[in-house]
Symmetry: C2
């Protein structure tokens, strides 16, 4: 195999979920039948790397200093939803039922991986709470062990700032099947029945 | 979502086997945690597009005018293996048991998709057979309907050039299970028992 082709295969392997065989097939297909798309991908990657940074307020990915949500004066600035990833922001936005602002952690507290409060932007969050505009924080970390630990840490910040804090409801997912649900979720659903 | 991010997501979707959700996740992951790899991928794509073309003799992907196989004087120039794709060349090379040259069709005869003899490089193949160096052609198209039709067409060229022609043996794959094998293959294996 030519060295340029080999280098392309190696680079494609770095994409999440792409194994050696798929990378090889992709490299050949891009060079043989999809040259136009390959050029567009190279350009899109370069442009995005150069132009996409983080919003200075919520840490979501953004081309401008302030992302479109933070810059939108129609949003309810008293409500702040804390999420782990920009994809969670997207998921909330797609529901169309949340009108507040966001704060993106880009991960969970995980000291072993070098992810401490600093890396998750928690000093920035504390500053923001101290401004006194935010009246309610919704902690929407993932319901995993690390997500819970992160939520607990954030709860201490919001308690210190005396800001009302809530968590997402836990229970039976719509369209889910009771018999396939784990016991812990079912117990929560039963406890918080309404 | 920012427009640069959206464009990157669309470009990633063009990769074979990547759906909308994976493309989104990839785009975020590349920009957040794998910026170095993303830059390398953009560069590798550009370089490969600029530097990789086709070998003028066998039509395999190659950086030079002649690929490393065609340029290698140790290879047996009397033997020519005709394959559908550069990945097939790679597969043969990995066996280490083929010492001849290759000819890559880049597809199968498929008039409805606009793939005729011209697109598969068959005039080039005919010229090559006319040179009189090649003494045996191995037709290694895939054992599908279109592959068989392509093989039949090539056989007519080799017959006209009076060059000995062979096909890959059909039979039981090593490590395969007889009870799972299709009837046609088993019948061939029985017919050509040795």
């Amino acid at each position: 195999m030519s060295s340029l082709l080999n280098r392309l295969t190696q680079a494609l392997r770095q994409l999440p979920g792409i194994g050696p065989k798929s990378a090889q097939r992709m490299a050949y297909r891009l060079l043989l039948h999809k040259r136009h798309q390959a050029a567009e991908l190279a350009q899109a990657l370069s442009d995005a790397l150069a132009g996409v940074g983080q919003c200075s307020r919520c840490r979501d990915l953004s081309e401008a200093r302030l992302c479109s949500v933070c810059a939108n004066e129609q949003r309810d600035a008293r409500l702040l939803c804390i999420v782990e990833s920009p994809l969670d922001v997207l998921a909330f936005e797609q529901t169309g039922s949340y009108k507040g602002l966001y704060f993106v952690l880009h991960g969970q507290l995980s000291p072993l991986d070098g992810l401490g409060p600093q890396e998750l932007g928690l000093p920035l969050l504390a500053e923001r709470l101290a401004e006194g505009v935010i009246e309610e924080v919704i902690i929407a970390t993932n319901p995993t062990m690390e997500g819970e630990a992160t939520a607990y840490y954030i709860q201490q910040l919001t308690d210190a700032a005396q800001v009302k804090t809530s968590r997402l409801a836990q229970g039976v997912p719509i369209g889910g099947s009771l018999e396939l649900l784990d016991g812990a979720t079912l117990a929560q659903a039963l406890l918080h029945r309404h």
